[in-house]
């Protein structure tokens, strides 16, 4: 079941990110669906699944991006692992917690990306933080929290029906 699910993510999320999603961009910045998905998987299903899904989706994202082939692979698998570790420390997962968690993790991922790719142009890096990193973190947090809220409602309704 899990390989099928991750395969479906690979075949829909990454191509969607590269094609239709730019219609949702604000100021040229789009939410990173791969980051949001990997973060939610790590948060809800644990470190190992977060790490493995990040590895797969990050690599696919690398193939459709101009950066080096390992950049997103490392960043997204790290995000999956980190969100799994964070998820273990939280007793009550709520939409608010997901919102805050995703914002922080998206910022961390962006900073890591900047550190790996910057070549000493600190003015450019500061501009990238203002114009890409922070807006994307806000976008990611909102999309992820929305997805979690919808997922939680669905699970809750199913459990209520079962009872």
């Amino acid at each position: 079941m899990k390989p099928v699910l991750y395969g479906a993510f690979l075949l829909t999320l990454v191509p969607m990110q590269a094609t239709v999603l730019h219609h949702l961009s604000l100021g040229g910045v789009r939410p990173d669906l791969v980051l949001v998905s990997v973060c939610l998987i790590g948060f809800l299903r644990g470190e190992l699944q977060g790490f493995l899904s990040g590895l797969l989706l990050g690599f696919a994202q690398d193939l459709l991006s101009a950066g080096d082939l390992w950049l997103n692979l490392v960043a997204k698998s790290g995000v999956g692992l980190l969100s799994g570790l964070v998820g273990h420390q939280v007793a009550h997962v709520t939409t608010g917690v997901v919102l805050a968690g995703l914002f922080i993790i998206s910022c961390c991922s962006g900073l890591l990306f900047l550190l790996l790719t910057q070549t000493g142009d600190w003015a450019g890096a500061a501009l990238a933080v203002r114009s890409v990193l922070l807006p994307q973190a806000v976008f990611d947090a909102l999309v992820g929290a929305g997805a979690y809220w919808a997922l939680e409602e669905r699970v809750r309704n199913r459990w209520a029906l079962a009872e």
Binding site: L11, D62, A66, N72
Partner: protein, 296 residues
């Protein structure tokens, strides 16, 4: 709270941390081998991704065309499109004529021959944008199977778009001229001063390393110099909008307004051979090796 039961145990946490550490160590210790392995694995994965990418792109294109056509009235839009195409072709013609006029003043037989040789191109469709927010790049529907290779130049009839940086079997990634990681050798058409055109963080372009004595001014046209990269000489890059000359600096730089609006790309041309078959012709003009061997 509802999801808490799905969380992993301590053992899987340790395994995930070990695997991540292993991934980082392998990447740092064997970077070139890992790049090769990833490139090898990327082939089939890219092929798998190609199909949904084409489907999403077709759906997006269809919906966009339907929407645009409905809102802007079909015939007006078509007319406008045809006029824009004509303007782009005329701009390119104009640029080529200016370049040809400048070139005739500095006749150099073999070099001139190369400049006039038409590049071989391959038409491709833009099917997407970079999958992250960190690069200004577009995806094309042509890849290695069609003869596209990294470092090839990409243009429209109006001018330079960017260069290919990554390819899979069925698609390729083009880093746009406005990306700060891109660098294309450029030439100021009027003064013949050379420099490097780089993208800026704001989404424009800048011609760097212009000699201090250059008389460059706003309005000057910048074209490809053809010295390196996948572009022939004389393709339009943009127009100089302002000059920056810092006190004590060795060079000056100029802000450029790119000729191609990279936010509205639909079809492009990939330059597969910058000077057409000029190299073959030049070789044909020279005596063959067997004859040369016989001469003293």
């Amino acid at each position: 709270m509802w999801m808490a039961i799905f969380r992993s145990t301590y053992g899987t946490r340790r395994l995930a941390i070990v695997l991540f550490a292993l991934l980082l160590s392998v990447l740092f210790l064997l970077p070139s081998q890992i790049q090769m392995l990833l490139h090898y694995v990327g082939g089939p994965v890219g092929q798998v991704l190609g199909m949904p990418l084409a489907v999403f792109s077709a759906v997006e294109r269809g919906l966009t065309e339907l929407w645009d056509g409905y809102i802007a009235l079909q015939h007006v839009r078509e007319e406008n499109k045809a006029l824009w195409k004509e303007i782009e072709e005329l701009k390119e013609q104009n640029s080529q004529l200016r370049e040809a006029a400048a070139a005739t003043q500095r006749l150099a037989a073999l070099l001139e021959f190369k400049q006039k040789a038409a590049p071989q191109t391959l038409a491709a469709q833009v099917i997407g944008r970079d999958a992250t927010n960190w690069y200004r790049a577009v995806l094309l529907n042509k890849g290695e199977a069609d003869g596209v290779r990294p470092e090839m130049g990409v243009i429209t009839p109006a001018g330079v778009v960017g260069r290919v940086v990554k390819t899979t079997n069925s698609s390729s990634v083009v880093l746009l001229i406005t990306d700060p990681n891109n660098a294309v050798p450029g030439l100021i058409q009027r003064t013949r001063d050379e420099g490097i055109v780089e993208g800026t963080a704001e989404g424009g372009a800048r011609l760097k390393y212009i000699p201090l004595l250059s008389t460059v001014r706003a309005g000057d046209r910048v074209v490809t110099s053809g010295l390196t990269g996948g572009f022939p000489r004389g393709l339009m890059i943009g127009v100089v909008t302002s000059i920056e000359k810092e006190e004590g600096a060795l060079f000056q730089s100029a802000e450029i307004l790119p000729e191609v609006d990279v936010s509205k790309l639909e079809e492009v041309l990939v330059i597969t051979a910058p000077y057409g078959d000029a190299d073959a012709n030049v070789e044909g003009l020279l005596p063959s090796r067997s004859i040369a061997k016989g001469t003293p």
